[in-house]
Symmetry: C2
Subunit: 476 residues, 2 copies
């Protein structure tokens, strides 16, 4: 029975891309629709997003930000006000040209991001240094016209939050950029059990319109990297284009310094590819919509269901607990909830009840243990904590294993081909080398990590004087 | 000082529309942008929506529904599958015709509502009676290409939730339609203090594609009605068009019965126009982002600010409390927070501290009372409850006052012109009379109320045999 079910998921080794597709559909995270490149977030997928959202929203508010909501549409003329920005986004926006039966006099783009809308609003509401800082965030959908798409990782439309802030000084904007990058990094590590490398994007890879972009990069099970959150210091580019000025403490007109930062449903793709295995999804307990699934054994026997439901009611007070009392076979249920990555399974049958115990099975290790009813609740809490820690530990170990240091271009190419993962190598800072590496190997610069090391004096590509240590990888 | 500030808001009597515009902008609920007909929800406006959303989401989940997320775009061919639906919505949808630089082979409409997307998905996932009922909801933005717009009431884009469900039988779908209408009605009365009339829309006014539409209708301060939430029994119209079939308990193929229901940011407009006054907004305590505003008096005096902050920390545990310790004058602060409709103001100065008391001022009645520190927290809770009840009571009284029963068409026209509000009158059921009344008086049929009365034997318009009592009104 177990085998029967698992057969449906392609093994990771055989075909990672197919494994991913199998997992997102069979674990019922998403469904496809007739809208090309868009996905339907099904209840299980959306519940995971709600948990991420709830935690992140708490952090965003705790750091002093307020939620707002901006329009979905951006008039073409507004989008064009900041030159780098429009250049970067023009190829990938969707255009509304008709409203009802009428042709519009000006095209509207469906927001790919909302810097220009925020800039226009900030100009209206900021006048004095007393109005600063302005710390805003919005939860919304955005659209980017992608050619090839994959659920969560790259879709025409996705859900995210985008923070937008204005500050008096460059230094304050810098601190904000770092602060929110750290919020993202902590969320990834503490809640999603995904270890990240923090660093700065190169000029080539930074956000269109930013002064600089900070990023957190994570590593998937197949050795590819995934950009997991970005935080941009926008400098005064948008502010100058839109005239966002304030009277400073000396009574003089001054332009604001801005930041923006975003975190998306993409992270669910990372969660799948970092923790999943050949049995399906593995969801970290802190983010799991269901942390504990109760499966009654021999449930037709007298007292079993009553006992199981009582247990559910009791445990539900502190643990997100569900019960499957359907007439499906226990074997089917075991597989189903392993596929869905539910952290813990509790089995209870007539003999267990007699002996005052239950069976707990961990999704991460498959370990099975008998636990006395007396210690049950505390034991479950401890085990959930342990699973959470173990997932992060495993992910860290995997990343260490797939991070390689190289000092020659030959080694770069060899390691990338043989092992994949992160390649740490020195770079001269020249965009020509960055492009050459991409063209030759398929790897892009992921970031200039905050934790710099000096592996060698020379650029791995051109042998000129090295400026930075860079993380390189093939990426989603 | 007080007068100085209030001068900025047009009086309701003088110009209700201008009063409304003044309040939504000066209370900082919204801002305009260069996107025609769209609004920016500012922190205060969005926080009110978040509170409504939180409560409604709880109710939606408590009634067994799960949240999902559907795509923003609908291919034209998909929208056309249900004939009444496309006919109703075609004149008011926005069309995407280009993605990046390319012209699309098929136009995509920006969802005005998501029945067809849900129908397509339901067809994929429903096979057996064991898959039923399916009880889904989504929180999203939708777009309707309106010619004339007004903040909250009618905008190109708005935020809402839309529920979509599938059932085995007509009866179950009917029960669901009623259940969710009641959830909306209770939310309006208990949280927003807005009394509603429950009833059925006429054939002319029902949702495009529905079998029938239930509605809750509320009455604004200027005597106009506002449709505040709708719940549709869709029958099997979409299900047949999309082929949503299941194997029933007898092993035969059967078509599902569907419902859909929606509640929008529009309700914030109702809240403003039901409770607001010439001093600005009045927000019901249960929905207020800030329930209590502390204004320190003579705050430069030693100990005042410390005392006020201590009070804030203590009260914040059970009451949504803020403090304004800025260097603005108390008079300015009083007006500002009256404008924003904060239910209770607490004033505390050096003499109060000496005497172990504070001053509380109610926004709804303006009443001022001195309260001893000992009973303070309990007293505030009681007062907030009292404000909540009083707002509903006042709104009910206003509605009673502006509801008139008529039996002749002359009386209909007179009462509507002189008094406005709801007109209760009998109707023969003929659409010709409904249209005639609208053309002659500007009033539309708001609903056939569930609570029927027999005012007369004859239709108020044509003198034929009357079928229903109907609520008529001019409406937003
Ligand atoms: Zn180089
Ligand atoms: Zn008639």
């Amino acid at each position: 029975m177990a085998k029967e079910f698992v057969k449906n998921v392609t093994s990771m080794q055989d075909d990672f891309a197919q494994w991913y597709t199998d997992v997102v559909t069979k674990a019922e995270l998403i469904d496809y629709s007739s809208v090309r490149g868009s996905m339907i977030l099904r209840p299980y997928g959306y519940a995971i997003w709600e948990n991420i959202q709830k935690e992140l929203d708490k952090q965003i508010k705790a750091t002093g930000h307020e939620n707002v909501y901006m329009p979905l549409f951006i008039p073409e003329s507004l989008l064009q006000k900041e030159k780098d920005h429009i250049e970067g986004f023009a190829p990938e926006v969707a255009w509304v040209t008709h409203g009802g039966e009428e042709k519009l006099t000006e095209r509207l783009c469906v927001r790919p991001t909302s810097e220009v809308l925020f800039a226009e609003h900030f100009k209206n509401i900021i006048h004095s240094h007393r109005d600063l800082p302005k710390l805003y965030n919005q939860w919304s959908n955005v659209v980017r016209w992608e050619k090839t798409t994959r659920p969560f990782l790259r879709t025409l439309e996705f859900l995210w939050q985008e923070g937008h802030t204005c500050h008096e000084t460059d230094e304050e904007a810098h601190e904000e950029t770092i602060r929110m990058l750290n919020v993202y990094a902590d969320l990834c590590e503490e809640f999603l059990a995904i270890p990240v490398v923090k660093g700065q994007k190169t000029e080539k890879e930074k956000f269109a319109g930013a002064k600089y972009t900070y990023t957190i990069e994570s590593l998937m099970h197949d050795g590819k990297a995934l950009q997991s959150g970005t935080s941009h210091h926008l400098g005064d580019g948008f502010a100058k284009a839109f005239g966002i000025e304030f009277t400073n403490r000396e009574g003089k007109l001054q332009t604001v310094q801005q930041t923006s930062w975003g975190f998306t449903t993409r992270i669910i793709g990372a969660m799948i590819m970092v923790h999943g295995d050949d049995r399906g999804l593995v969801v970290p307990p802190k983010i799991a919509p269901t942390q504990l699934m109760i499966v009654p054994i021999a449930q037709h026997k007298e007292g079993v269901l009553d006992f199981a439901y009582d247990l559910k009611d009791k445990l539900s007070q502190t643990i997100r607990t569900r019960i499957d009392a359907s007439d499906k076979k226990p074997g089917w249920k075991f597989n189903e909830y392993e596929m869905k990555g539910i952290p813990l399974r509790l089995e209870v049958g007539p003999r267990d009840i007699e002996q005052g115990q239950v069976i707990l099975v961990r999704r991460d290790t498959g370990e099975k243990e008998t636990v006395s009813l007396q210690d049950l609740e505390l034991h479950i809490h401890n085990t959930l904590n342990d699973i959470q820690c173990n997932l992060l530990k495993k992910a860290r170990a995997h990343r260490e294993h797939q991070t390689t240091t190289v000092t020659t271009f030959d080694a770069f190419k060899n390691e990338l081909t043989e092992k994949g993962g992160f390649i740490k190598a020195m770079w001269c800072g020249d965009e020509a080398c960055e492009s050459f590496i991409k063209d030759e190997t398929g790897a892009t610069s992921r970031c200039i990590p905050f934790e710099q090391e000096k592996l060698s004096e020379k650029c791995v590509c051109c042998d000129q004087q090295a400026k930075h240590l860079v993380y390189w990888a093939k990426a989603y």
